[in-house]
């Protein structure tokens, strides 16, 4: 009996380890590639640990003209990713903040006053239901007339709207869970309803707001299609730069891998910070 539990324990460990290895392999491979010099990119047999590790693939992303070595020689013509990095750092936080503020106000109105009727929260979900390309066609026409193409503002407006479904539904869930009698007590003490909203309810759900904000940040940071269509030079974001860089530098796999790693770090950090809210976030609060 004792021996049998020992063996089944080992089998369980084997299964778990195999799953973890399968999950980790693609990114570990890219991570290793990002530290390899050119002669090792397609070396045969491939090695997981770079024989001559180098930081050149990372340096070349931000200083492509700077002749540190053979990689920068190869990708001299490619544009630096600095602009895209800064653009993402401007567009994503602003649209995330707007989405959370507007989402919080609307969620409070819907939760406490049933404003907009029963259908309103569901109509917001349609932004997530349909393929974004269907919205992109008319938006292009519209944006051309308004001069919003290739501007930060243009992307910020879109990102705010298309993440409202997440912020509204997540925050509404948090507000619904705040008992009304707490608010009523404050109103009896003479506080105005707006004051109650900002000084009683808001502080009670700030953990939830932070989680919603980090999740919306992930959604905005990873968005690709709108950025690809609506930007060309000035407002290009990091995911577009990943795709464009791959095209521009051809088979320069090392820098491509390095850019992939750089683009992933912020969302991985954000994702693990809100790990226990992920189910709620991805399912619009329908599963808790």
């Amino acid at each position: 009996m004792h021996k049998r539990t020992w063996v089944s324990g080992l089998i369980r460990w084997g299964i778990v380890l195999a799953i973890s290895v399968l999950t980790l392999t693609p990114v570990v491979w890219v991570l290793s590639l990002s530290f390899k010099p050119p002669q090792e990119w397609l070396a045969y047999p491939p090695t997981l640990i770079p024989r001559q590790p180098t930081l050149e693939n990372y340096l070349v992303l931000f200083w492509p003209g700077n002749p540190v070595g053979v990689v920068s020689e190869m990708v001299r013509t490619a544009e630096p990713v600095t602009r895209a990095f800064i653009n993402s750092l401007i567009i994503v936080p602003i649209s995330t903040a707007l989405s959370i503020i507007i989402g919080f106000l609307a969620a409070y109105g819907i939760s406490r006053f049933r404003a907009g009727g029963n259908f309103l929260p569901f109509s917001v979900l349609t932004t997530r239901m349909f393929p974004p390309i269907a919205f992109a066609v008319p938006l292009l026409v519209y944006y051309r007339s308004l001069g919003l193409i290739d501007t930060h503002l243009g992307l910020i407006l879109m990102y705010t709207t298309f993440t409202l479904a997440f912020s509204l539904w997540m925050i509404k869930g948090f507000i619904d869970s705040v008992p009304r009698h707490i608010e009523e007590a404050a109103i009896l003490d003479g506080a105005s309803r707006w004051r109650v909203m900002f000084t009683i309810t808001l502080p009670l759900i700030r953990g939830g707001l932070a989680a919603a904000a980090l999740f919306v940040f992930i959604m905005n940071w990873t968005e690709f299609l709108f950025a690809l269509i609506f930007t060309s030079r000035f407002a290009v974001t990091l995911p577009v730069q990943v795709s464009r860089y791959a095209g521009a530098v051809g088979r320069y796999y090392g820098p491509q891998a390095a850019l992939g790693i750089v683009a992933s770090i912020p969302v991985l950090v954000a994702g693990y910070m809100i790990q226990r809210y992920l189910v709620r976030a991805f399912t619009f609060g329908l599963v808790k």
Binding site: W13, I15, V16, I19, S20, T23, L24, P26, V27, W29, V30, P45, P46, L105, Y108, G109, I110, F113, A115, V124, M129, F130, P131, P132, I133, A134, A136, V137, L140, V141, L157, M158, T160, T161, F162, L164, I187, S192, R193, T222, F224, L225, I229, P239, V242, S243, A246, Y253, Q256, G260, S264, V267, L268, G271, Q275, L278, F282, T283, V287, K288
Partner: protein, 305 residues
């Protein structure tokens, strides 16, 4: 709730405050959603391309010609069929794998369980383009997948993944499965954790087998959670663009083109915005109908409790 009217300020009346609170959201939705939807309907009924030199509201009327063209467009229809097949294959496998993983993690005991469940979550947080890049690099002709194949089966086993339509599609499906199985796992695992223990305990004392308990007690109780996960994932997978754009670009030829990629090219590469608008509306109608059908069992499930 009559308290607020005591102060007599209009913006503190319940109705006004509610309307004011949802106003910013309403404005955004009108600006980015409803007005563009009206434009797309108009566009689909005219014949307009940006290169025509006239503004879009001056374009000649085309009636339903764009729709008729779409329904006879072989490339559109095969992109549609391919995308549906992709959704069925990817979401189906994600569900089975996710369910198996969730059951394993829920019912088996092993050390460091929480650490392992954290590790396997990370793919779904990554940018799609990065997942596409990772899998593109894995399946290169001289990449690590081919290396492993050669080690296992000899030098003839090397495969040119991106030259063959079916194999190229398979790499895309694999990338999607790798990224989104964690989502299925996470939703079902937390659903399992939230189930009340009493029904299972009762069945156990009555001598039900493990399979009977799973099939007749656990699975029915999990049904709403599973339906929600399937609906969300299917709608999401139907949008697939980034992976295809990065990994194959729709190639070889147009043999791996997804619906979103074809619409993108029609509208934004070939500049046929009217035609793209008509196809987009057809897709919207289709998605709305399918979503309606998929939500129905969920509603029935929730009504019956």
């Amino acid at each position: 709730m009559h308290l607020s009217t005591r102060w007599g300020r209009w913006w503190e009346e319940d109705r006004w405050m509610g309307q004011l609170l949802i106003l910013p959201m309403q404005l955004l939705i009108w600006f980015v959603l409803i007005i563009p939807m009206l434009i797309v309907i108009y566009l689909s009924l005219v014949s307009w391309q940006p290169i025509m030199g006239v503004d879009w509201w001056q374009a000649p009327f085309a009636g339903l010609r764009n729709y008729a063209q779409a329904l006879q467009d072989q490339r559109f229809l095969s992109a549609l069929g391919r995308t549906i097949g992709l959704v069925l294959a990817a979401v189906g496998l994600e569900f089975l794998l996710g369910l198996a993983l969730a059951l394993f993690f829920h019912y088996q005991e092993f050390p460091a369980k929480r650490i392992f469940s954290s590790i396997i979550l990370y793919p779904m947080m990554l940018p799609w383009v990065v997942v596409g890049l990772c899998f593109y690099l894995l399946f290169l002709d001289k990449g690590p997948v081919n290396y492993v194949l050669i080690q296992l089966f000899g030098p003839g086993a090397s495969v040119q993944w991106y030259q063959n339509p079916l194999l190229a599609l398979m790499t895309i499906v694999l990338a999607d499965i790798w990224q989104w199985t964690p989502f299925m796992f996470l939703v079902i695992y937390s659903g399992l954790g939230a189930l009340p223990p009493e029904p299972v305990e009762a069945a156990m004392t009555l001598g039900a087998s493990r399979w009977q308990i799973f099939r007749h007690i656990v699975l029915p109780m999990l049904k709403p959670v599973i339906l929600i996960a399937l609906i969300i994932r299917s709608l999401e997978a139907f949008k697939i663009f980034d992976l295809v754009y990065i990994m194959t670009g729709g190639g070889p030829g147009t043999s791996t083109e997804s619906l979103s990629l074809y619409l993108y090219r029609t509208g934004f590469v070939y500049g046929q915005l009217s035609y793209a608008a008509a196809m987009a509306l057809l897709v919207l109608i289709l998605v709305a109908l399918v979503a309606r059908l998929m939500v129905r069992p969920l509603e029935m499930e929730l009504e019956s409790r």
